[in-house]
Amino acid sequence: MNFQDYEAVDFACDESFQRYCLEEDDAAILFWEDWISQYPGKKAVIQEARHMVELLSAKQGNRLEQLRHLKDGIAQYDLLQHALVAAPENETISLRRVLPYAAILAGIVLLATTAYLFYQKQLPHSADRMLISAGNELRKTVVLPDGSSIILRKNSTVELAAGFNQVNRDLTLTGEAFFDVTHDAQHPFMVHTALVDIKVLGTVFNVSAYTGNGQMETALFKGKVEVAWKAMPERKITLQPNQKLIINAATVQAPTAAGAQTYKVMPLDADPVDHKAKEIAWVRNRLEIENEPLVEIAAKLEKWYGIPVTFADDEVKNYRYSGTFESETIMKALDALQLSYPFSFRMVNGVIIISK
C-alpha cells in the first residue's frame, strides 16, 4: 500500500509513523518530515493521525523538546558557575542558594515594561550606590551581596541603593532582568521602576523596563509580588501566579483623571508547544516566534538585538513566520526567515530596512 492512499487510521497504525510522532528515532523523524513536506495535501489526515497517537500515548512525545530545555538549563548552569568564579567578592553566597534553574523551570517570572518618558525620576545620590550594567552583552549574570542573583538583559542596568543588604534591599531597574531573590522576611526586596514599585517576598521573577515602549507589563509565575503605583501609592495590586498586569503608560501622565488610567490583569501567554510562558523565553536564551506577522517579529528583533528595524513596503509587514533563534546575529535570523517566504533587507546607517 502506498502512503499516499493512507487514511488517518492507517498512519496511526504505522510503526514508523508512530516513532515519528513520539520522536523515538531520527530516521523516522527525517523520513516523515520530508514526506509531509512533499504531500501538503495530506496535512489534515496527518494531523488527525498524530492527534490519535498523542492521545493514546498519553502525550509521551516531544523528547527532543524536553532535551532542548535540559540543554538550556545546563547552559545556564555553566554560565552561572562561570559568573560565580568571576565574582569572588561575594563570600556569603552558598551555591545552593544561587541555583535558579529549578526555579526557572518551575517558571517564576515577573515582567515589567516602563516607558522611557517616565524614567526621569531622580535617583538617590549617595557615594555608596552601585551601578551594574549589561552593556552590549546579550545576558549578564550578577550575584548581589545578599545572595540573590540577577540575569541582566542586553543594555539593561540595575542600580543598588545605598546600604543595600545592610539597611534595605532596594534597587532600581532600567531595561529587563531576571531575579532569583533570597528569602529574608526582615528585609523585603524592592524593585523600583519609573512607574511602579514592586515589593517581592522572596521569589524568582523577571522585570523589564524598556525605553520607548508605550506600556508597562508585570508578569508573575509563582510566589507573590505587590505592585504599587508611584503616582498613587494607595493603588496596589497583588499578582497571583500565572497572571500579568499591563498598564497603558500613555494614560499614566494624567493620574488625576479618575479611571482614565487603564490597566488590566491577564493570564500569562503560554506557549502552545512547551507550555512555558512566552514572557520567560529570553531567559532561556532564545527568541521564539510562533506564526506572527513580520511587523511584530521586527519589533521583537529590534528589542532582541538592539538595532532599529523599519519597513520600506507595507505589504511585507503581514507575512507570517514561525521560528526559534538562539544567540544568532540579526542578519542570520532574517536570512533564515526569508527562506520560507522571501523578502529582502539591507542595513543603512545602522538601521535595518525590510522590503519586498
Binding site: L55, L56, S57, A58, Q60, Q66, I74, Y77, A102, L105
Partner: protein, 183 residues
C-alpha cells in the same frame, strides 16, 4: 549491549564529568522515566519538568555521585522523590500524595486513567472516556501495549500469543472505532 549495561556505562562516565554520556543517559532512560512518572500522577507536564529537574540536579552534583548498581532503579526513586516534593508543594493534590506515601494503598493509575488525566480539555476527557468504553478489553490492552508501552507489533504478537497480522488488525479496528467516536 543491554539497556541497563548501557546505563551503567553512561553513569560511570557522567561521574567523571562526561557531558555526552549525561545526555546519552537522558535519551536512553527518558521514555522509561516518563511512563513511570505518568503511572504515579497523570500530569505529563509535571512529570516532564521533574525529569528535567532530576537531570539538572544530577549534572550539578556529578562529582559527588556514587556508583550505583541499578541505574534505572536509582533514577526511578529519585524521580518519585521529585514528584512527591512537587505534589506536596502544590499541596492541592493531597490525595495523590497520600496515595504515594502510604505504601499500603499504593496503586498505579490504569492506562485509561492516565490518557484521560493528561488531557486538559474537559469535553475531550468526557469523549475519550466514552470512546474507551466502547473498546473490548482485548482492544484496550493492545492499544496500551502499542501506544503507551511502545511495543512493536512483533513484540505484541509474541507476548499475546497471536499472529502479527491479528495484532495489527485488532489495533486497527480499535483506532477506527475511537476515531469515529471522537469525531
Amino acid at each position: 549491549m543491554s539497556y541497563e549495561e548501557d546505563n551503567c556505562i553512561h553513569w560511570e562516565r557522567l561521574r567523571s564529568g562526561d557531558k555526552q554520556a549525561f545526555f546519552a543517559l537522558y535519551n536512553n532512560t527518558y521514555a522509561h522515566l516518563l511512563r513511570f512518572g505518568l503511572k504515579i500522577c497523570g500530569n505529563d507536564e509535571l512529570v516532564k519538568d521533574c525529569i528535567t529537574q532530576l537531570f539538572l540536579q544530577l549534572w550539578s552534583k556529578q562529582q559527588t555521585l556514587r556508583p550505583v548498581s541499578n541505574v534505572q532503579a536509582y533514577l526511578f526513586t529519585a524521580l518519585k522523590r521529585h514528584l512527591i516534593d512537587q505534589l506536596t508543594y502544590q499541596s492541592k493534590i493531597h490525595a495523590a500524595v497520600n496515595r504515594m506515601t502510604d505504601e499500603a494503598s499504593e496503586r498505579e493509575l490504569s492506562y485509561e486513567e492516565i490518557i484521560i488525566q493528561v488531557q486538559q480539555d474537559e469535553e475531550l476527557k468526557q469523549r475519550l472516556h466514552r470512546a474507551m468504553k466502547a473498546l473490548t478489553p482485548r482492544q484496550t490492552e493492545l492499544i496500551r501495549l502499542k501506544f503507551f508501552e511502545g511495543l512493536t507489533y512483533e513484540q505484541i504478537a509474541a507476548q499475546t500469543s497471536q499472529s502479527m497480522k491479528t495484532a495489527y488488525n485488532t489495533v486497527y479496528d480499535a483506532i477506527k472505532t475511537l476515531r469515529r467516536l471522537l469525531k
